[in-house]
């Protein structure tokens, strides 16, 4: 900041700041009450794009609501605004791409792919399985070894609505098509969840972000524990009750699913930011076999075969797709298993609802709307429409 600008700011100084705060607080203390089509249109635009509408756009939206009785069309007008992609969707997806769940993380191939899939109305249940990637035409080009391509896109404030181009991971990253699994096999997801550890993080955060279920909510100790790996102590600190009451509830069902990721890891040397996704077909990553003496009678992972034990028992309520078999090999088919569950659909709808309503579903009417939108969503998995429907619903709050 130059000295000239500093002096310009300092001139009104504290006095101006006080005025700003005073005015803001006065205005904040007023309680808006939604009323006519004009206010509804403004709210729809605000919530979908994050920015106020131009006078021209507002008039068009009001017209759709008032004269055509079609608030959904008004919402779809707002969705055409670039900031729906640059702001709303980016901030919707960014917390899913890092363990800290911070929205301040930079744009990356995970979040860009989510944005692109919504823009192009790609069936969203392909999120965890498709051979899909969205990149820009800017420099530097996409790299398997860093995130520079996307950070440049963000720094240049490029219009993601126009800039993002659909392509395939297999053609850009070199990963074989059958090894791709939507956002699971993006570099950013690998950087966050395949790094070090045992790959259980990828599963946990996928459940948390895309089925809205942290493991604590779905633990079921009554599933067979025959796939719990050797690195899990059956008697932590010499007390097996800890295993019975806590550990096995998650591990029993999680392990046979997480086995799908047995060939993946994030490789890096010294700098974590310059690593890349590594896939070793037919070779189980050593991280799956570490600490084998902790419980040598535990499961030693031989391959990437997965089974969904939660199709039975209390977690059958997650609504698994009966047209799928509930078992397979590799991340792609496991991603299909997760993304075709009712819980996945409901989670995406609920997240969109929260993003545009700025609150969680709180009463019977809200829950009914979520249910209705989820059922609609499951025919076509059009995420864009879910945003529009949610915004229309909440415009009447």
């Amino acid at each position: 900041m130059s000295g000239k600008r500093q002096s310009k700011h300092l001139l009104p100084g504290a006095w101006l700041m006080i005025k700003l705060l005073t005015l803001s607080l006065v205005v904040l203390s007023t309680t808006p009450a939604i009323s006519g089509p004009r206010e509804q249109a403004k709210r729809i635009h605000d919530r979908i794009t994050g920015v106020p509408p131009s006078a021209e756009t507002l008039e068009k939206m009001v017209d759709e609501i008032e004269n055509n009785n079609d608030p959904l069309a008004a919402a779809m007008l707002a969705i055409e605004h670039p900031d729906f992609y640059n702001v709303t969707l980016k901030n919707w997806a960014t917390p899913w791409t890092n363990e800290e769940q911070t929205p301040f993380a930079p744009l990356n191939d995970y979040s860009a792919t989510v944005i692109g899939m919504v823009r192009d109305e790609v069936p969203f249940n392909e999120l965890l399985s498709a051979d899909i990637l969205y990149i820009g035409s800017n420099t530097p080009a996409y790299s398997n070894n860093n995130n520079d391509h996307y950070e440049a896109m963000e720094n240049q404030a490029l219009n993601l609505k126009d800039e993002l181009k659909r392509t395939t991971q297999s053609s850009v990253t070199g990963l074989s098509s059958e090894a791709t699994a939507g956002i699971i096999t993006t570099r950013a997801a690998a950087r966050a969840f395949f790094i070090d550890g045992t790959n259980r993080a990828m599963f946990r955060f996928t459940m948390l972000n895309h089925l809205c279920k942290d493991l604590e909510l779905i633990k079921d100790p009554t599933r067979s524990n025959n796939r719990v790996r050797q690195d899990v102590s059956r008697s932590p600190g010499g007390d097996s009750r800890v295993f019975f009451n806590n550990c096995v509830g998650c591990h029993a069902g999680m392990e046979p699913l997480t086995q799908a990721y047995a060939y993946y890891t994030y490789e890096y040397t010294d700098d974590e930011e310059t690593g890349h996704l590594s896939y070793t077909p037919d070779n189980v990553q050593p991280k799956y076999l570490i600490n084998s003496s902790v419980f040598k009678d535990g499961y030693a992972t031989p391959d990437d075969h997965w089974d969904n034990y939660w199709r039975e028992g209390p977690n059958s309520l997650l609504g698994w797709d009966q047209s799928l078999t509930g078992s397979g090999s590799g991340a792609k088919s496991m991603g299909q298993e997760l993304a075709n569950s009712h819980a996945f659909a409901e989670c995406q709808v609920t997240k969109a609802f929260q993003a545009v309503c700025l609150r969680s579903p709180g009463n019977a009417a809200d829950r009914s709307k979520i249910s209705e939108m989820t059922n609609n969503f499951k025919s076509g998995y059009n995420m864009k429409r879910v945003f529009a429907e949610s915004a229309v619903y909440c415009a009447e709050d």
């Binding site: 700003l20 904040l28 106020p52 008697s235 010499g238 009750r241 609150r359």
Partner: protein, 826 residues
Amino acid sequence: MNRHNNFGKHQEWLQRFAWLLIPVIALIGLPACQDSISNDSQQETSVTSSTYNGPAARTNDIQGFRISVWEPLRAQNRCGACHNAGGQAPLFAREDDVNQAYDAVNPFINRTEPDESSLVTKVANGHNCWEASNSACATIITNYIESWVGDGASGGRQIELEAPPEKVVGDSKTFPDDPSLFTSNVHPLLTKYCSECHVEDAASPQSPYFAGSDSAVAYAAVKTSIDLDSPNNSRLVQRLLELHNCWDDCPSNAQEMETAIANMADNISPTPVDPDLVVSRALSLPEGTVASGGSRQESDIIALYEFKTGTGNIAYDTSGVDPAINLTLSGDTTWVEGWGLEFKTGKAQGSTSDSRKLSQLIKATGEYSIEAWVVPANVTQEGPARIVSYSAGTDDRNFTLGQTLYNYNFLHRSSTTDGNGEPGHSTSDDDEDLQATEQHVVLTFDPENGRRIYIDGQFTDDQDETAPGNLNDWDDTYALVLGNEASSNRPWVGKIRMLAIHNRALTEQQIQQNFEAGVGEKYFLLFNVSSLVSLPQSYIMFEVSQYDNYSYLFRQPKFISLDKNTIPDSIPLQGMRIGINGREAAIGQAYARLDTTINSSDYTANGQLLSNIGTTIASEKGAENDQFFLTFERLGSQTNVYTEPEILPSGAVADSEPQSTIGLRTFDEINASMSSLTGVSQTLSSVQTTYATIKQQLPSSEEISGFLSSHQVAVSQLAIEYCSAMVDDSSLRGDFFPGFDFNINANDIPASTWQDQIVAPLMSRFMGENLTTQPDPAMVESELMTLLTGSVGLARCSGQCAADRTAKATMAACASLLGSAVVLLQ
């Protein structure tokens, strides 16, 4: 070389340490020479024997007997007091002729199962043990016999499997379908005291959700936490005893819960085992065949603790090498089920005089190993916390096995270290070798390799950075102490399940062998399935051990027939479950998905392994009383379709507290909004720099209750930046404020012009028009006009304003509105 093939080693040992055994000591405290239990007090433990001048051993086997059994037992304060020449038959301890002693002892030796030898069982049953514990003497004599008769050539003893008694599975109480007993007795306590967490819609929900208002749903969730047969074993009770969120006094709360469960259980009659189940016969742990635990390398053991006594305040050294360093338990030190000691703040310590043998025998070889099965309770203790120590206090030691966080420490006095064993040797920080689980740890020292640490049979690859040195300076006045320092101020929290001190450095192969042999009491449980497969003497056999105080380890399930002429073939086996006390265990059914076939091609004389997975099953009534059985979805032609317990849909979700229907714009939204409203590009250097600086000071959540003054400061900064950029750009400001002349002195611009050409465009653009959700325009206009033309307004100066004041006043009016709630709220 192992315990069963160690004549040579023992011979060397005898020659090397004969000076310890041979001196004749006056006869003191002769045990009585009749069958009686003499365990009132601890007896003299030093061996008192004489020089042997009789005929040499005729065979190698007799020489083995002489070294391993006869020499330690012929002493006058052992069996030699009575079973000597001219004494009480059998004369197996006669000192005049080892060959005749050999002939006398053979009828009392069981070479396949040494612990079943009459020589052992007689003492185990109370016949003149020289220790206070009969089992300690029995273990010592067993070890002697094992040293003698072991046949290393055939790879260890063969276990003779014995057919268990025939027992049908007993009845037990089961949960009725109707939840009313639960509803009236237990549910009220749960909803009253547990509903802050154990309900699905809690702020931080914790499953199981047994405290919801819907008792049917709660009932379905609570079943694994209630034990109808033993209400005090219920998890609901035990958790309170573990101080888990009691509502006032934990013991009385636990009692209240137990009473409620007992009231429920008392109204439930025991129901027979589900007749549809395909079940094996039943077994308890003591009805199994004791497993040997495999061959161990023990030829150079000089102190051994297996903690088999399980009671009292003495842990016996059963190495058979005198003097025994028996350890006295003190402080918070308790016995562990299935052999072991648990330390919290206490210790187990031997006397300095008995401990002297460690110094003497280890200095004689110049090398040693400390071998232990340990279970650290946590990975947070340090000090190092003393696991095993031969020392006098915090500054003086010969050796110590300790714990510092994730590391094992090896302190060791030598000519290259100080009297405190420093510099120490530890496992690497990065490897985190120490885990809070059962581990086999071996420390070795020898003059060639120095100190080494092995965990679970593997060398940790941590090299001792101190030259090995010698042990000449070892102090023989120290005490062996477990679980703490001799001075009691370095406690270690955890369990020791076995400790062996060898006066040789074990090789990696020997360490691996001892690791494979495992630890603790193990049984082969043979579940009779003869009637299910229609083959004689057919069993599913498990190796079962007490895993800790709360569970059993089931491993290595095999199908086996004790009828050697039976060869099973084409017997399908699916869905095997372990039952306990009449019910299938709720947790730990690792074989529930088993799907295999018992075939003649896979079957051997040792049976057919069904799975290499092991599992732990929660204990309920203790090892003596828990009764196990197996169930099958399919075994041979017998089938039973397993049905999952009924899954009830989630109960109705309660409405949340009223939530705000408006919210804040978040960081990117604010930036984009300001850019959109002012027309200034987000990539303009000045705003981009400011935004990057204050981005994380802006709101990250829409929640209006989370709005802080620091947020407002950041918003104001960004608003000033955008408005400054807009007003500085003649094109942008011209578009925004058409007709307004920025070259006129601020003081000369009438209020009406400020109002029409500055305030009005700002309000129109930033607030929108005709929106009832925005603040009252008149109020906003008034605020802005006061800012510009009020008594201390920015556009009003005494005399002429500075030339740039017009732009600055415009920028201030712009920023004050742009950074206010009219933009910030959505």
